[in-house]
Amino acid sequence: MISQLFDGIASVAAGWVICLNLMQLMMIVSAMVELNRIRQRDRHQVWRRLLGSELAPRISVLVPAYSEEISVCDTVRGLLSLSYPNLEVVVINDGSPDDTAGVLIEAFDLRPVHPIYQRVVETADIKSIYRSSREPRLVLVDKFNGGKADSLNAGINVASGELVCAIDADTLVAPDALQQLVSPFITRPDTVAVGGTVRLTNDSPVRGARITNLVVPKKPLPALQAAEYVRAFVVGRLAWNPLGGNLIISGAFGVFKRDAVLAAGGYEKSSIGEDMELIVRLRRRGYETGQKAWVEFLPDPVAWTEAPESARVLARQRNRWQRGLMDVLIRHKKMIFNPRYGSAGMLSMPFFFVVEFMSPIVEAISLTLLFVGLVAGLVDPASLWVLAAAYGFGATITILTLFFDDLAFRSYPKFRYRLKLIGYAIVEQIIYRPLTIVWRLWGVRLFLMGRTEWGQQVRKGFTSS
């Protein structure tokens, strides 16, 4: 009887992983269809030319910075050299303990101006606002520490653009990325947010705040994340466009309609996953007020960011993501399986609940019981073949995703990169995946304990070519 129970558990574990892989496969198909649609549409776009003029909608790029003295100047230089014609860059120093504000003041000859702005959303007090004598498009907001969401809210208060672009202070943006991200706001008036792809810069040479040659990171952890980011952005986000819109626009790179964000009350300061929470709130508000709120992901505009290189920092990041997800699911639990919220309620939210939230819990329980059963001799060792098969299918899906990305975007177009990525796709299933399960479970535990802090990210800075 017990033996049958344990065999059942082994089958559930394998079945669960296979189901996840099948879902991933469907998402790849959906992403392929969507990419084809976007490419056909953009091939005949007239917007690129129109958006080269000064009449293009003004974008305020918000750069919340906390202990970013190593990379913030590169990021700002990169932003100021973007080809978008109507741009403002607002850096928000969130009470950094290091010299983030100091390096900016020195690098751009910033001078204090009187801190006058419309305080539409409540934020921690602003100490001072600086403007540059050399670069009139740059504004530095120096404020007391209040967290990332608070910084973004302060930036939105100070911003003068009708669109705001939230990016991380360690992020580099492709020269024409903003032009592309603005397009949906012009073609679809109900668009409230648009996100782009984020790729990893680790070990890629940077010249003039631009990636000159994207390489697969040398260290295993960032390289594993590179493959993971391809899966998450190129497939995960893109697939949601035809399925009723996204629920996540990365905090590292997304453009929002300022009025819509202000009407929704800005970023939620008490949320750990403030980027996802804002999108879900915008969409929820759209359904509740009857004003459509469309959220789109575009695969072509790219931003590059630095991935954690140590397991400790990565673990903190992943457990924070898990806490953020749980926080959003609880705040907006009313939406799950609620037809009033359309595709967001019937598709996206249930997906995040079942696949993203439940997955580590189910996998952890099943795997633990399976190994206990094996040790106790209650499970047929042949069950391990099924489990290994499930991970094999997982690796196949990842390689298929990399192949799709290679043909569509030519991100890593070299033989040795492909070979490396295949290796990492296999290692990911065997080592990295169980690790992420542990980190996410740790996140669940911390969330249940009411821990909401971010933890510190260690920056290495960009590699000069």
Binding site: H114, F403, R418
Partner: protein, 422 residues
């Protein structure tokens, strides 16, 4: 069975890896070959289009012999942006090769993607039987948009009625392209546009925008009518049209619109005055710094900053404004201007002595002054529109008001902050 599943799964890993490596490698190779071929073709085409007649003639045959697909893919993105000699040469190339017939055939294709290609290249076709109107009436919005966008100024002038009709198109892309084409048609579009503006209707706002960009004084009257329209959007657009430059005739109308009930309209009127460089309006605009709507206050601040020295003088006066919002906006604009010029901030309130200014009797009634009981400072308030008539006189009067305050002998000329003690 279980082992079989394992073999299938890891077999698929192996298979997928091979496909990834082999197909990816082939794609690399194809891309490299294509890039090399394109580089050679681009070089030849650039000689044909931009070098001397002799050099162009030398490569003509080689370019004409390029595979049609390569040739098309290269000239398609270029074609719209060419003009003058380059355009004539490209037209010659299209006429000499089979491309002209190819484009005409594509224009009649049942597949919209092919028609888009024809639409994009339509201006290169010189054949008299080619029906451009069919592309403008196409069922697919992208075909219409592309056809309109690729029009030369002459072609746009020939199709003004069609373009005006397209201002009402359901697709935003088509509407914007039609607006741009009408603007490129210039004075040839004015008569039809006047008729359309007089008739009113759904596309009046788009037409107004075109009218504003044409800067033709014949359109001023029509635009003026829209400044009295019951629709705030029309009044706002009329302000923008006036600001885009039908000359100083628009200034009195804009002054009137500064008292509009709608904040949007007021802000647009202020922006327009700033755009027109109406230095005579600085005091009127300054009064808007204390408006209830942030949008209006911000527009007033930006406009005053744009208007240079006179605007900055008014901003400085408003540093002593009893209205906190006006004070804040003035300070913000002066701060930004100071930062731009690498100067220190405007001295904080209290360090500048601003004398009480009496009304200027001999000059046009520029401002009314009122006494701020608490500080003894004078505050400028908006004059009546009818009072502002002569730019030079107004500027002189304003200088009389401001000169003692900044201790300068000569009136300022142009440029941000000139005459500004900061």
């Amino acid at each position: 069975m279980r082992f079989g599943l394992f073999v299938i799964a890891w077999g698929s890993v192996l298979g997928m890896s091979l496909i990834y490596i082999v197909v990816g490698g082939m794609a690399d190779l194809a891309q490299r070959l294509l890039a090399r071929r394109r580089a050679v073709a681009v070089e030849k085409i650039s000689v044909l289009l931009f070098e001397s007649e002799d050099e162009a003639a030398a490569v003509f045959e080689e370019v004409a012999d390029l595979p049609r697909r390569t040739l098309l893919s290269l000239i398609q993105p270029l074609a719209v942006d060419l003009d003058g000699q380059a355009r004539r040469r490209l037209q010659g190339l299209v006429a000499a090769t089979a491309l002209q017939r190819f484009i005409r055939r594509r224009a009649k294709s049942r597949r919209w993607r092919k028609r888009v290609q024809a639409a994009q290249l339509n201006y290169l076709v010189t054949h008299p039987d080619f029906d451009r109107r069919a592309l403008l009436n196409d069922a697919h919005a992208l075909v219409r948009a592309r056809a309109v966008e690729s029009f030369t100024a002459e072609q746009a002038a020939e199709h003004v009625p069609d373009l005006i009709r397209l201002l009402q198109d359901e697709s935003l892309a088509v509407r914007i392209s039609a607006q741009r084409a009408l603007i490129s048609a210039g004075s040839a579009a004015v008569t039809e546009l006047l008729g359309h503006l007089d008739a009113g209707g759904g596309s009046s706002l788009a037409a107004l925008e075109v009218a504003g960009n044409l800067s033709d004084t014949r359109l001023t009257k029509a635009i003026e009518r829209y400044t009295r329209d019951s629709d705030p959007a029309a009044r706002r657009m009329a302000c923008q049209a006036l600001g885009n430059g039908v000359g100083s005739e628009g200034i009195p109308m804009l002054h009137r619109l500064l008292h509009d009930d709608e904040a949007d309209v007021k802000a647009a009127a202020i922006e327009a005055l700033g755009q027109l460089g109406s230095q005579a309006s600085v005091v009127l605009i300054g009064a808007a710094l204390g408006d209830r709507a942030f949008l209006v206050r911000r527009s007033a601040g930006i406009a005053l900053d744009t208007l240079g020295a006179p605007g900055h003088l008014v901003l400085r006066r408003h540093l002593r404004d009893p209205d906190r919002y006006a004070r804040d906006m003035a300070r913000q604009m002066l701060d930004a201007a100071a930062a731009r010029r690498g100067l220190d901030l405007v001295p904080p309130i209290g360090t500048i002595e601003i004398p009480v200014v009496e009304p200027v009797a001999a000059k046009p009634q520029l401002v009314n002054t009122t006494q701020d009981g608490s500080s003894g400072a004078s505050v400028l308030i908006a004059p009546r529109v009818a009072d502002v008539s002569d730019d030079q006189a107004v500027l002189a009067a304003m200088w009389d008001l401001m000169a003692p305050e900044i201790g300068a002998a000569e009136p300022p000329h142009t440029g941000i902050g000139e005459g500004d003690p900061a």
